[in-house]
Symmetry: D2
Subunit: 146 residues, 4 copies
Amino acid sequence: MALALNKEELSQYLVEVFPQVRDDFAIEALTEDSVIMRLLTAERHLRPGGTISGPSMFALADVSVYAMVLARVGRQALAVTTNCSMDFIRKPDGDAQMIAECRLLKLGRTLAVGDVLMFSEGSGKPVARATLTYSIPPAGSAAASF
Amino acid sequence: MALALNKEELSQYLVEVFPQVRDDFAIEALTEDSVIMRLLTAERHLRPGGTISGPSMFALADVSVYAMVLARVGRQALAVTTNCSMDFIRKPDGDAQMIAECRLLKLGRTLAVGDVLMFSEGSGKPVARATLTYSIPPAGSAAASF
Amino acid sequence: MALALNKEELSQYLVEVFPQVRDDFAIEALTEDSVIMRLLTAERHLRPGGTISGPSMFALADVSVYAMVLARVGRQALAVTTNCSMDFIRKPDGDAQMIAECRLLKLGRTLAVGDVLMFSEGSGKPVARATLTYSIPPAGSAAASF
Amino acid sequence: MALALNKEELSQYLVEVFPQVRDDFAIEALTEDSVIMRLLTAERHLRPGGTISGPSMFALADVSVYAMVLARVGRQALAVTTNCSMDFIRKPDGDAQMIAECRLLKLGRTLAVGDVLMFSEGSGKPVARATLTYSIPPAGSAAASF
């Protein structure tokens, strides 16, 4: 149940395998079964009206569960998303950064499941929720062959 | 943000509009934005091997969100499910009753969203999770015409 | 890409491992990547107002994908549902039997994905849709340990 | 059941309300209940290894259903996504453009549901599937208040 990577190791590994995260996401906190991730909101994440785009919220949820899985299984860049469900619940505040709270619900031998609540920073009402399933490649394999 | 029905009124109304719940489900606790529901596990909910069937878990999640919505909007029997996502995470324990913890994420004018974690009683590890959306008929209308 | 079980073998195997299907479901047609399943609608599947219950529709979708997977991989009773998403689109007609059209989208080494459209017999408008993921236990293992 | 906007009007309106689509998406074909949309794959849609990113596939599915809804209800820019489920089924081919085939399953007074299959151009095997629900603002209202 221990972390394979601490917050600093995880941040560094994410940037290594997934360079685009450097400017988009920052890990705020990490425990054995949860991570808090910040979307570093920039012009490219917005839609007319100042709201945050659906694809940006999808990306935030996806990277949160990916980071959570890697924190536990270690440097396994080839974990892949197999399923996602999302509910868009309220209009996000385009002036606030978006915060994702991710819980790891399951870490099995081949599948991991995490769910995510997303908030506009400073508000307690969820803007969106998501659940994602990741397929984890067997140790030693070249890739997830789900 | 107040409850339109308290726990006793809600239990009674559910039995009235939905008589099959009497033997299948019991409300354990109710707050303004959460409900805990028990599946009164019986032979008909089981699958060979003593595990609880998928349709029984679906029914538990569905009735939990339905009850939560009615607790807030009052006697609106015609609220209908429009969407459900579920993840089956662990094998449930067929010897234990199943407990659902439902949170209300959104109660809008026409849509409500609730999510549900399900546990075998006595275990802290979730067996399944679900999110459901309900369409709420406008006050005075004969039915939800989503 | 060939079927491991033909329609008669599949029907017989389903009844063997899953006796409750005998009275609830009938396979209408089977190809290498599709199955048509009928819900043999009875009083126990209905809700007040004559509509078919959500759990009955869930069960129909679930058994359709399960049957499709077994038709391809053979007698692997221990395949388990890991994820389901459903949309309830129209009020079903309680006087008509419900027909599910299932397509196999993916049959991998460990995961299978099928989607399902459900119709009230005689109507061309879908009543519901669902997508289910099954975890397939490795050959020779005692169970799916997803 | 007629189209409110033809293919040219729809393309033009999408660019108007949603300028970023100009470089990302192109409508290939439009009927009363289906649309075929192309992702104009560029460097920014790719992940290391040459595969198309999850957020790009989400965006393709989302814009496909949005376009389908607008084609039927007319210039209603404020329709908003309320729910999405996606399955990632195969590794997309980063060298091929991605094609989405969207079917409109339901167009109600307040909710529309569409589903989408995504293919790497030239391949008949789906790379991903998605179902999205849109909330349609009442005629004359300033916004969808779901």
